[in-house]
Amino acid sequence: MTDEPLPDLGVRPATSTSGYARGSSLPSHIGDPIVKIEGLHKYFGSNHVLRGLDLEVRQREAVMIIGRSGSGKTTLLRCINFLEEPSAGTIEVDGVRLEADPLHSRSRAFQERVRQIRLRAGMLFQEFNLFPHMSVLGNCIEAPTRVLGLPQDKAVERAEYYLEVVGLGEKRDEYPSRLSGGQKQRVAIARALCMEPKVLLFDEPTSALDPELIGEVLRVMEDLAHAGTTMIVVTHEMHFAREAADRVVFMESGVVIEQGPPEQVLDNPKHAETTHFLRRFLDQ
């Protein structure tokens, strides 16, 4: 359908097996670390939201972040691609390494490195943030043509491919205002995929959706996860986390408290805070 090499959405064998979370055995499809977060701190004024957080995510790994409201999940995700400026710490995405430097972050060189990270980390928002003045196709080809410099026809082919992946091929000429919330979020996913990032960051992608529309978005995400897309997902959908996650990360007060395979963290948590959170969560 296209001579551009499309990203491998199929499962490939792992290239390394060393050092997966706490020495537990590494699932065979998981690859080398591609996102590294080291000593991440974030202050909002005097509010110390992220407190020296470390996290590594490997190729083709689906990591789900859970934790109570205000624990800093959104802030963490936004710090990864510098939508929020980290106060200290280092972010590395696909070999692009950037140490937080709030005093000099306005410089051209710094902003260019931020952009290099953003090109490698696609972001999905709670409120979708589609561009309302552009058609679905326009949304999907704007950045590929004008940022990556892809020729128009290649970008359109690519967009059609990914719209098909999210099941919205026939909506390419619609405007966002005529789509349901679930369709909007799926277009947003296609738009992010069109940049062929190394990792997708999802911040509660279904929390703004009517209950009956949540499933269609989670299904797309689950397909992507099973096809080997690297993703970091902040979610409150525990069932989804159990199904789609390679690893669940529990955050509390700006640090990672506990992480591991979903059945371990969700069913046999080792830490009291995790147990407490899960119990409160299930009570709701």
């Binding site: 691609n81 090109l119 972001m123 950045a143």
Partner: protein, 278 residues
Amino acid sequence: MSYASGGGAHAQSQGMVDHSIVGQITAAQNAARLRFRLTFVAVWIAIIVGIGVALAAANAWDWEFALESGPVIVLQGAGITVLISVASIVGATILAILGALGRISTNPILYAIASFYVSLIRGTPLIAQIYIIYFALPQLDIVIPAIPAGILALSLNYGAYMTEIFRAGIQAVPRGQREAAGALGMRQAHIMRRIVLPQAVRIVTPAIGNEFIAMLKDSALLSTISVHETLFLAQRLGRSSFEPITALLIAAIVYWILTIVFSIFQERLEKRMARSDR
């Protein structure tokens, strides 16, 4: 309306809808609406006829002059008025976008220039700005013909007021739009040009329409620097044929009709934008 829906709900609660009642209410509402419109038109005609009779009684209106010079004022004068206003609203929009970008800039120099521009222009009378551009600049060996000078003055003046409109419009574009664009790797200039400004323009379009209608009338000030627009022609023709009142009345009617026409046009445009609702 509320009566109709109340009646419907009542009928439905009994498990049926009395269609004849609904039909009667709709018919009654339509009749009331028609009566309102007819009364509206009648009152306007009555007032206009009243004014006409009063003018005729006072011998203020001269048909001979009106038929002879009226067409010149309407065709030539109104043409120039519309031309100048269109050119000036385009100029003002460009200045307003630049001004707004300056006003939201984190660069202190750009911010200072834009703020100075807005402050100076909003702090001085339009008529003074027109005189300065047309009469004072030639002292500095900058000579600008009347029409370009007038367009420049109106553009500068309206651009300053519209700067604040555009600034508000840009800030009304949700922050998530910039963030999503930034997350796709777009640079600041690209985000502004392709994502924020197109949405801001939609937001401020009704306000630009209002500014344009105000400008149609303010362009009459250019008669003072001999721009051959509506009021200037009316005054000149009125003076030379000793019918100044008739001439002024014709000019007033021309402005009035122009504003009505563009108001209708603007209303249509707004409705269409609301319908497409992007």
